[in-house]
């Protein structure tokens, strides 16, 4: 079987297995939380503009919580679940490359994460676009009307794509190295990244969050600069940030692929 056919088969099977169980609905609910909050805001007493709502929700909730969590849950599904269930034996005793298994399944996990994060981002944009200042909807953020030149939608959707890719790759790589990728992932996302990304200076650039924020911050709507904590920070150029994220993702995939070739998975009875 050639590489593409194999990769496609693994990708497709991983997708089927990811969407079959009920937990996918929980993940979808998680991805829709920012949109739900936007809907709550649209009903609340205080007048808040659409751009203000969508940028804050995207910056604090979508980017820092939802995208990493979805990426974590998708990424560790590449290997960790099969290691726990001991079904990895079936894949690793077939005449196929382990690298192909890793990459094919990571592609499947990325597809899941991408779908959910894009869904969440679009839902957020639609819900936030319904927030009215007075009786007139704010035309600045209504994605289907002003997409793609509004300086808000593209950064958010782009961050969803880049974040899905890099976090899935990161946690897929982690799942090759450790039997407890969930713990490592949670510690990294909610302790290490949170700590480093809030430090002043160059320390922030050690985190994935910094590059995703740079992508958003570079060529966005001026409303982004009104976000708390934004003003004092220095961000890289958007294209540079996007390239950096892509390179990091490819590097992580390469490291994971290299390691899995000779890795022993010892299943205890």
């Amino acid at each position: 079987m050639n590489g593409f056919a194999l990769g496609f088969l693994l990708w497709r099977t991983h997708l089927v297995r990811s969407f079959a169980p009920r937990r996918i609905w929980l993940l979808a609910a998680l991805a829709l939380v920012p949109a739900l909050i936007a809907a709550i805001l649209s009903l609340s007493a205080r007048r808040i503009t659409s751009p203000e709502a969508v940028t804050n929700l995207a910056w604090f909730l979508q980017l820092q919580l939802v995208v990493p969590l979805v990426g974590l849950l998708a990424g560790i599904g590449v290997l960790a679940r099969e290691v726990e269930d001991r079904t990895l034996t079936y894949l690793f005793t077939r005449p196929i490359s382990r690298v192909a298994v890793f990459l094919g399944r990571t592609a499947g996990a990325f597809s899941v994460a991408l779908l959910l994060n894009l869904l969440g981002s679009l839902a957020l944009l639609v819900a936030a676009g319904g927030i009215r200042l007075g009786k007139t909807p704010d035309p600045t953020v209504f994605p289907l009307a002003v997409f793609p030149h509004d300086g808000v939608s593209i950064p958010i959707l782009g961050a969803a794509v880049l974040g899905s890719l890099v976090y899935t790759a990161l946690f897929a790589c982690v799942s090759v190295f450790t039997r407890h990728p969930m713990i490592v992932g949670l510690v990294y996302t909610f302790a290490i990244e949170s700590f480093l990304s809030n430090l002043p200076g160059a320390n922030q650039s050690l985190t994935l969050q910094y590059w995703l924020r740079s992508w958003i911050a570079d060529d966005g709507h001026p409303i982004w600069r009104r976000i708390e904590g934004f003003a004092g920070a220095t961000y890289a150029d958007g294209p540079v940030a996007a390239l950096r994220v892509l390179v990091i993702a490819l590097l992580l995939l390469g490291i994971g692929a290299w390691r899995i070739r000779r890795k022993e998975f010892v299943f205890t009875s």
Partner: protein, 308 residues
């Protein structure tokens, strides 16, 4: 000269401080071979090495001329049915076996046909399109076996294949294994239930405490165990008469007549002598022999002798 099925030299594997296999030297020519041993003997470790899941810590292992670990050429020849029950719960039996068939290199149409055929062969025709989530233990066992057979491997390695099967299922599986053996497939079956293996093959590899304890045909192994006399139970109308004659044999260790005077328990170090002289005794004395049975030539007895 044909390549042996399995060749291990100084094969050792440890997990931190725990030794899984200790300096195993083993050559298996082929056919149906039973891998036996109590829990913790090293069977699972040896199977994992054979299945290419792990590497040896020391020594070498070649199966069908290949080093198994992560060896794609070797995996084309291997069909492995692991011990664990887990399958892909979200897929049906057909989808699961077909998926693995595709991974083994079969084209989509061929994979579909072969998956159906393999599942039918293991008696799963009625449950082809049921999700494996709801399968019983026996159904999972059969599905695993179908997945191992679907690409017609040269070597089939099955770990505890009869676990969870009802008596009818066991008989069917034993018949299938014998059928596959007759077709020229090498089969390595692991179990700690001795009578299961006895029903399938006489060739065994016996492990104990991470070491090789014995290898070969059961009867031949028994013959090697010189320090244990061979035991026979005889029933005859004139048991005392026969007992007297048997005592005269040079290899006889003990003769005991049962209370009902119809039975004899004989222990001898020279079973060949007994085989040669017994017809003469029967012709001369006419003791009315009704039955004779060797009571310690089976695997249970051999195993007991070896580990005690």
């Amino acid at each position: 000269m044909s390549v042996p099925l399995l060749e291990a030299r100084g094969l050792s594997r440890w997990y931190g401080p725990v030794v899984g296999l200790n300096d195993l030297d083993l050559t298996v020519e082929g056919g149906i071979v039973g891998l036996l041993g109590p829990n913790g003997a090293g069977k699972s470790t040896l199977l994992k090495l054979i299945a290419g899941e792990i590497r040896p810590s020391r020594g070498s292992l070649r199966v069908l001329g290949h080093e198994p670990f992560a060896n794609r050429d070797y995996f084309r020849l291997l069909g492995f049915s692991p011990q664990q029950d887990a399958l892909y719960d979200e897929l049906t039996a057909r989808e699961f076996v077909e998926f693995l068939a595709r991974l083994s290199g079969l084209r989509p149409r061929t994979a579909r046909i072969e998956a159906e055929r393999a599942l039918a062969r293991v008696g799963m025709s009625d449950a082809l399109d049921r999700p494996t989530r709801g399968f019983s233990k026996g159904m999972r066992q059969r599905t695993k076996l179908a997945a191992a057979l679907v690409h017609q491997p040269r070597l089939l390695v099955v770990d505890e294949p009869l676990t969870g099967l009802d008596p009818l299922g066991r008989r069917e599986l034993v018949a299938l294994i014998q059928e596959l053996g007759a077709e020229g497939v090498h089969i390595l079956i692991s179990s700690h239930v001795l009578h299961e293996i006895e029903s399938v093959t006489e060739n065994i590899v016996l492990l104990h405490r991470s070491r090789l304890l014995a290898q070969g045909r059961v009867a031949e192994i028994r013959a090697l165990l010189n320090r244990y006399p061979h035991r026979y139970e005889l029933r005859a109308r004139s048991a005392r008469l026969l007992a007297g004659a048997l005592l005269s044999l040079p290899g006889t260790h003990s003769v005991r007549v049962s209370r009902d005077e119809g039975g004899l328990s004989l222990e001898t170090f020279q079973p060949a002598e007994l085989e040669r002289e017994l017809p003469r005794f029967l012709a001369e004395l006419r003791p009315g022999l009704e039955s004779i049975e060797g009571t310690d030539v089976g695997l249970d007895a051999v195993f007991d002798y070896l580990v005690s």
